[in-house]
């Protein structure tokens, strides 16, 4: 860290240590870097020394010039808010230059996206169509889809998708948790939910994918490895291959099929006793021969 301290005497050195220009060139970091640049423009530009101001100005132009390469809605909106900050911070002449550069970039970006579409036919499905398709995917396939290309990545990140997955995995399962004697870490001893879905995540910035990931890693990974769910509308065990019940009929769109994940033990119970939510679950079966299965799926009572 010594070098950093020595280098970071001047604001300009500190600014350069951020490596914004490099980060802008990486598509995965572009949005974040331009947000950072945007707030530097708003909050630090006017107080900065001349040489730093010109550096910030150059980086801003650079950020705009990269826009045609990116082709995602996220990048475009990030660049747009960067432009607003630039209009706010720059003096007249620089402002005009920045606006011109931005306009050029947007035009070039549109032209490129048009040629892309012509070249690839309609490979680029509109985002809302993609999100609709992705709503039928299971967690693994959804994550996999995000690695296909940028436009799929944006769609597969859709907050509503992850919110409904979260609801299925960690919220609807509340019932089954109580009834079967399972304890999840998402539920306190009193049975109160730690994650009441309605209270959190209504904020714009809430990342449901991130929340899902954390909860998935923490609690339910083993339990849900069965990929089986119970649909309360059909009263049937279905594959948890998507966040929808696989019996949901296309002719009856609109009926909400609520499904919740279930464990292998519960499937066994279902086969043996017919009922899923009956109280016949763990205790009576704890002397079952297949202890390894039991151990693998059950969670200790806390």
């Amino acid at each position: 860290m010594g070098t950093l301290n020595r280098k970071a005497i001047n604001p300009i050195d500190r600014y350069q240590a951020l490596g914004l220009k490099e980060s802008l060139s990486k598509p995965s970091l572009y949005v974040f870097a331009s947000k950072e640049l945007s707030s530097i423009l708003r909050n630090a530009y006017s107080a900065s020394p001349k040489n730093l101001q010109s550096l910030i100005f150059q980086d801003t132009l650079f950020a705009f010039s990269l826009l045609p390469e990116l082709q995602t809605q996220y990048a475009i909106s990030a660049a747009n808010s960067l432009l607003q900050s630039a209009e706010f911070a720059f003096p007249k002449q620089k402002r005009a230059l920045a606006v011109t550069e931005y306009k050029h970039a947007v035009v070039a970006s549109k032209r490129k996206s048009k040629t892309n579409q012509e070249e690839e036919g309609l490979t680029l499905l509109p985002q809302d169509a993609l999100v609709h398709i992705f709503s039928f995917l299971d967690v693994q396939s959804l994550v996999s889809a995000s690695a296909v290309c940028w436009s799929w990545n944006t769609a597969a990140r859709d907050n509503h998708l992850w919110k409904s997955l979260y609801a299925i995995f960690f919220y609807n399962s509340d019932n089954f948790t109580k009834h079967s004697g399972f304890k999840m870490r998402g539920v306190t001893k009193n049975g109160d939910k730690i994650h009441p879905l309605d209270d959190i995540g209504n904020g714009v910035g809430f990342d449901w994918k991130c929340a899902f990931k954390t909860a998935f890693k923490e609690t339910c990974y083993r339990k849900f490895k069965t990929y089986r769910g119970y649909c309360s509308s059909c009263c049937a065990i279905v594959w948890l291959r998507s966040n929808k019940c696989s019996n949901e009929l296309s002719t009856k769109v609109g009926i909400n099929h609520q499904i919740m994940p279930i464990s292998t033990q519960q499937i066994v119970d279902y086969v043996l006793y017919g009922g899923l939510l009956s109280e016949s679950s763990l205790d009576s079966d704890s002397d079952t021969e297949d202890v390894s299965v039991f151990k693998l799926w059950a969670y200790p009572q806390i």
Binding site: K26, P27, S28, Q71, E120, G121, L122, T123, L125, P126, D128, A129, H132, I133, F134, S135, F136, L137, D138, V139, Q140, S141, V143, S144, A145, S146, A147, V148, C149, W150, W152, N153, K213, F216, K217, Y221, R241, S242, L249, S250, T251, V253
Partner: protein, 167 residues
């Protein structure tokens, strides 16, 4: 409903609509089938136009959509038959065909067809390697190698057992 008696040739089929694709071909559709599409229904409600021009749907796709609409508008068919028709409808279709169908249902707003096709597309890509999806769906990989590696690293939680257990 205003009758179309004065319009001569349409008298016999006054409950029909003519839909023209972007290729210029015309399809005769019963009104009961056409109104399954929310967009067409709106058009028909707003004006008594019996000829609807769809500038962004080609012959092949439009023919499929109309076959679908007609089947679903047929009151003589049971729900079970309609359901098996749906399955038949999307089975064996290539991704390209489905893609145009999704775009068309998007334009026409046919909720149940959109659902069926989107589900089929999802079923095709389920549990497939990223490379397979790109190849089959003819999608260009627009990631830089670094960006792709980063994305895969960040998303490893969904698969990697060991990593999850280490955490």
């Amino acid at each position: 409903m205003v009758t179309t008696d004065e319009k001569g040739p349409l008298t016999a089929k006054k409950k029909s609509v003519i839909i023209r694709s972007c290729d210029g071909d015309e399809f005769l559709v019963s009104e009961s089938a056409a109104v399954l599409s929310t967009s067409l229904k709106k058009i028909l409600e707003e004006k008594e136009d019996r000829l609807i021009h769809l500038s962004d749907i080609d012959n092949k796709t439009l023919a499929m959509v109309i076959a679908y609409l007609s089947t679903h508008a047929d009151d003589g068919l049971s729900d079970d038959l309609k359901r098996s028709f749906d399955q038949e409808f999307v089975s064996g279709k290539e991704f390209d065909v489905l893609k145009y169908l999704v775009l068309a249902t998007d334009t026409l707003q046919v909720t149940c067809l959109c659902y069926t096709v989107a589900k089929k597309m999802a079923d095709i890509m389920k549990n497939k390697l990223v490379e397979w999806v790109r190849r089959e769906f003819d999608i260009q990989n627009d990631y830089t190698p670094e960006a792709e590696a980063e994305i895969r690293r960040l998303d490893a939680w969904a698969w990697d057992d060991r990593q999850l257990e280490d955490d």
